[in-house]
Symmetry: C2
Subunit: 329 residues, 2 copies
């Protein structure tokens, strides 16, 4: 086998990644054992870490630049879910031997573009050879805004349950990539795939929900599963009205052809929209917020006394899902 690179770990870091850290003196040019992080006047940082694994979270032939952006964005979404402002990140790349410099170059370019989009900078990391599939880990450091943070634990009976954007697109997009949804028109299929590959972290929404919403999270494990977690942590129950769940035109087209896809839409993950609850008095203010930032915010259900999440149709009859959210184990 011919090696895909003549560069060793340090040369690869210097060539591909040091430029991503050059805007920050804190990164020390990626030449030290650790990096500095100036906290300035910030008293409370918000930190998160999330991994993507080939064959689990992305497909091995996905474009490297999109994988890079998804890695950054799933972590950005965690900060969005708390209403925090992202600042800098550290990254560990577990790379199989087959990953060559071409792949790294495209990966680094994706990071560079999203660093500019979201105003974050690389602080440090590690690169290791792994005798298995690609595993990418990112730790994101941010700060809370003036209103503090939004957590999963504040939902109360009577709250409206809101979602941003449209639901189910990413799960349907994965379905397309795996050869499903045959016959769906190409524009719709491309839209769904793009929603799977390139989530849009709702940072502006999250920031503005602090002090306005009572509980919130991002939808990474599926609408039903993630509402279940809010309810569990808040010691309340929840009900989703399936007909109110906002769908994209592409998802509607898919659903018309195959009504059983409702299960994928409600149970599938990876949308990275925000899911939050708010007192009913806040409804008009939240609607106005959606208008102000150009993002659809829809009431899809209600928080109740009790526990557990039920999904009902327009007649009030319960819809039972077999698979509430992606389970790793």
């Amino acid at each position: 086998m011919s090696p895909k690179t003549d560069r060793d770990e340090f040369a690869r870091i210097a060539h591909f990644f040091a430029p991503l850290a050059s805007a920050s003196e804190d990164a020390l040019g990626l030449k030290d054992d650790a990096a500095l992080f100036e906290t300035g006047r910030v008293r409370e940082m918000v930190v998160t870490t999330d991994a993507l694994v080939a064959r689990v979270h992305f497909l091995e032939n996905d474009p490297p630049g999109l994988i890079a952006k998804k890695l950054l964005r799933v972590n950005l979404s965690d900060l969005a879910a708390m209403g925090a402002l992202p600042r800098a990140y550290l990254m560990v790349l577990g790379l199989p031997k087959e990953v060559g410099d071409d792949w790294l170059e495209a990966f680094a370019l994706g990071l560079r573009e999203d660093q500019e989009t979201f105003g974050v900078t690389l602080l440090g990391g590690d690169m290791v050879a792994i005798p298995g599939p690609l595993m990418l880990t990112l730790t994101l450091l941010g700060e809370s805004g003036e209103e503090g943070v939004m957590t999963r634990s504040g939902a109360r009976p009577g709250d409206n349950v809101f979602v941003s954007g449209t639901i189910g697109d990413a799960a349907l997009g994965l379905n397309v990539l795996k050869g499903g949804l045959v016959g769906l028109d190409e524009v719709a299929a491309d839209f769904l795939i793009a929603r799977y590959r390139l989530p849009e972290p709702r940072l502006e929404l999250g920031k503005r929900l602090c002090g306005l919403a009572r509980a919130g999270t991002d939808i990474s494990d599926g609408l039903a599963g993630d509402l279940g977690r809010i309810c569990g942590v808040s010691s309340v129950g929840g009900r989703i009205n399936a007909s109110r769940v906002p769908l994209s035109a592409a998802a509607r087209a898919a659903l018309e052809r195959e009504p059983s896809l409702m299960e994928v839409i409600l149970g599938g993950g990876d949308d990275y929209e925000l899911l939050f609850t708010a007192a009913s008095e806040a409804e008009s203010e939240i609607t106005a917020l959606g208008d102000a930032i150009g993002l659809q915010l829809t009431v899809v259900g209600t928080i109740l006394e009790g526990e557990g999440v039920s999904i009902v149709d327009d007649s009030g009859a319960e819809i039972v899902l077999n698979n509430l959210g992606y389970k790793h184990f």
Copy 2:
């Protein structure tokens, strides 16, 4: 196949890892998308991230508690290398399906013990199924002390090159675990294996070297390779006198049986001792520091004008190593 667990990801986190985060309200009980980190009056944080991969950094049948401690300690060593004080960590576990609850329980117990030893707490993390070998990633957050931090970049010609402790033990220990060093007595073999499996982060030394040493790092890629990195970043050269490199009794015994092991000792990694340079005027102060903290500090070489690292014997003749430091790619 019978599953090794009835617990899903969230139940595993709640059962095994939430107790490790309970000392810190900032972790929000591991129930949220991200964690908080109170910076208090700290203006400068120090952050690092490092991964361990099965079959690369540890052997799959190594005791899980020791793997946990090594994961924490290699990151603690990065903060020691900069003279920073550790505070909290985030962790991503990439687990093959075969990893059962017994393994996680022993792993979590190892973390608990080292959390107490080093005064750090779990802030958050992620757990993913991985279709490959175990991959563990940890991000450690700390703060710089009053004297700031030590970096790799300050070495100057004429500086003494110091190491802490003894060199080469870990690489020899790995050699034993792989079936090498046959005939070495059992006590020596056990000592070397322990040095490989359970590094001792030199946090107290690192803290006290700030303002006293000119450049420093920890030895994770081998004495020769890590000095090479200090020299590269500092734009100087270096010379190591092989006969001055401090060896444990076990390493000496191994070397007597097989003199070619000098290459393993000088080039092998994973000792996690500190390697630092200091002006010759500081030598007596550094000796006194070693006495004060009960840690052997030895001059092993000199910083020179120029570039590159050479290793010489007592006659001044150069020793050429084939393998300077572990290379991942």
